[in-house]
Symmetry: none
Subunit: 208 residues, 2 copies
DNA sequence: CGGGACCTTGGTCCTAGGACCATCGGACCG
DNA sequence: CGGTCCGATGGTCCTAGGACCAAGGTCCCG
């Protein structure tokens, strides 16, 4: 077979990338052409390798999956992006779908189903859960994490892990004052009262 | 080499099990003798295969990792259990360690470090983060919602909904001072730093 | 090229959160 | 009957959180 589907695998855990690679390489018509461990690397590898399909995790340190996805879409990269997620709420994948993902699968997908999903999106199909499709069709804006800037999302992720401003400053290499400014902006954008509510939001949105 | 360390891999995601298997099988002295996808299967496979080390995820559908661990300990199975977790708070792994785990690693561990950890626990060592070791040594019973009094659980439930002390006071018909006293007791019993972490805990514990 | 968005940082100020300490009443158990 | 635990409440004090304001640099887009 001359034209195999070329797949880029993006996940921050090497064991997950390895597992995905093992799943896919036993399929005659699929080929893993590369891996990336964060969003930034995902964009550069996608531009360099021009895969047909990108399997994209959302939660990654540094540049996350949604930001990477936006970047790929902005650059007009021709790959079809299939999100791999362990999240169950529509809020987690909605930003990704709005940013250009053509579908998503859960991390407990079995190998034949994963392969079928890849083939399906490669053919141009879209794979969405009815709940997600409905929310999209209703144009529900809501407390949309997509409206946060990339840095704000990083800070929100840390809040969702129960970190103090000082701990977040240390983790992200920022001044505490900078973190406070981001926190204030996040609270305003999400329409929540304090960091506890923001943390709960982050968990529900699958950011933490 | 005649005596390789026999390892059982327990995780609900097949791709993670596959990834772990790939990581470990390139080591001459390690052998993956089986896999399990939930806690119940983990116990039965451990009893059947008698592995030296069990790599155990905690969050699994059905019987979770801590429950499985307790069962293995109760049956006197001789295996050493190394928890694989994506949690960062001591509260997440404390129950597992109390139930008999001899250490834990994070899911972003790299292959040589994972192999080294397995060898280490196989030799009888214990691998614990200083925070976790300290909490254990202080005899802090730990993150067990059952140890909270009924009133504390009510307050924790409200915290898990993002309520302020004043709002909780109003909702439960108490003085704000009373709520603060309960909050302080809750934080101490759960071993968390502030109400945000308590709220996240409540969500994970299914109280909110 | 200028405007806007994002990121970063600092200052000031106020309040909620929480630690620590203390006290009292009721219920339960040895 | 006394001790312990739970629940309730108050006082004092300190700090983290967060609002508000300001400013500068970088990048992108019209």
């Amino acid at each position: 077979m001359t034209d195999r589907i070329r797949v880029l695998v993006v996940d921050d855990h090497a064991m997950v990338r390895q597992g995905l690679r093992s799943f896919l390489e036993v399929q005659d018509d699929l080929e893993v052409v590369g891996e990336a461990a964060d969003g930034s690397e995902a964009v550069s590898r996608a531009a360099e390798l021009l895969p047909d399909v990108v399997l994209l995790d959302l939660r990654m340190p540094g540049v996350d999956g949604v930001t990477a996805l936006r970047e790929m879409t902005a650059r007009g990269l021709p790959c079809r992006v299939l999100v791999i997620t362990s999240f169950t709420e529509p809020a987690a994948v909605l930003p990704a779908v709005r940013a250009g993902a053509v579908g998503y699968v859960y991390k407990d997908v079995d190998p034949p189903a994963l392969a079928a999903a890849i083939r399906s999106v490669h053919l141009g199909h879209t794979l969405l859960h009815p709940d997600v499709a409905r929310v999209l069709s209703e144009g529900e804006p809501g407390a949309d994490p997509a409206r946060l800037t990339p840095r704000e999302r990083q800070v929100l992720t840390e809040i969702g892990r129960g970190r103090s401003n000082r701990e977040i400053a240390r983790a992200l290499g920022l001044a505490e004052k900078t973190v406070k400014a981001h926190v204030s902006a996040i609270l305003a954008k999400l329409g929540v009262q304090d960091r506890t509510q923001a943390a709960l939001y982050a968990v529900r949105a699958g950011l933490a």
